[in-house]
Amino acid sequence: MTCTLGEVKNRADFIVYWGGNPAECHPRHFTKYALMPKSQFLPRGRKDRTMVLVDIRETKSVKASDVFLQVRPGKDFELITVLRAMIKDQPISEAQIAETGLSVEQLQDFVARMKAARFGVFFFGMGLSMTRGKHMNSAALLTLAAEMNAFTKFVAMPMRGHGNVTGADVIMRWQTGYPFGISFNRGYPRYNPGEFSTVDVLVRGDTDCAFIIGADPGATMPKPAIEHLKRVPTIVLDPHVTHTSKMARVHITTAPAGISAPGTAYRMDEIPLPLRPALESPYPSDEEVVRRIKETILKKPDWMGERPQMLTTQV
């Protein structure tokens, strides 16, 4: 249950940022889409919108908010569950509310504002999805958004992180049916986060080679995963020297995508944006390097000998 940022810009009069700090992490989000723009339905721009920030601390985004709800760390799921009950006028004990770190009045005001909105949006960040509870927290918020549609229009959208992570999900989805954590070992895609996802594969030591394109797991992944990357031959395609390229057996410098190499980037609402290169680069694009590697591999004899048509017997 989501929408595009264009709809947010034109219609959303009630914005909730949950576990995110857009003032620092998505600095153009307020001005381009969520708070400032004026539209046919919100002619006074910021004055026609209400913004609620839910976080465990006072971030720089607090200044831009109308209401700040400081939830107790690790109690997002509990708070969402309480809100789900309150919108349906189900009984809630004082202890259950106190557990969230907020008062009854704060929550009653929040629920009243949600119900009075014409078009509400939950933008949720890593503060919700990467703390204890993880996908269960996200699922609870998505459920709250769905349930709010009994009263008014409500949607939810994740605040995606690095450039074009949405693109990786979208492409994998239309190619395989799954967004991430996919294994092709049997010759067809299988999906199982926790088993086939990158961190898990590396931590278990299931892979004996790694091919990394435009990412720096050596500076972002947990230590056990990094240790395994150091043990196996790792090939990196990256415009820069990174922590990962330093531990790699092979580092191929490529042209930066969107600056020196053309392509398509997906905005966090999954809108594809074509990119034209502004500068020339002496280096090939990631796509060209991958294509050339693939062509070279195809010239080599198949390690299985004559490959059978179906791989159903291979386990």
Binding site: N21, R57, P73, M130, P193, V203, P222, K223, V241, H243
Partner: protein
Amino acid sequence: MSAKRYLLNPMRTAKQGVQVNVGKEGDEYIEITTTLSIHPDDMAEIGVSDGDRVLVKTEFGEAEFGCQTAKVPEGMIFVPYGPPTCQLMDGGTDGTGMPTSKGWEVEVTPVGGSKFEEKAE
């Protein structure tokens, strides 16, 4: 030695985001990702002051950071994501594919020397 446990929350900042693109080998990126923000009372309890170095330990690893006071809730520590925070993370993902990257219980102990002294040298 302080035995009190704190809640560590790695997070992102605008400066860190800029420095990721400038270069992770740069002094500024290293400075940002090795400086934690902590409540003044917590800092006093640990026995350190602004600029002093502390060792942060989880059950999975440890890393050294410089301290700075900030307007953060008591009992909580914030530090921008970076190679030092990777050292503290568990490889388990609870079947989700993503490691828990926020809300770890950590032990904080002072270590000799200050970040400022080291710079002066």
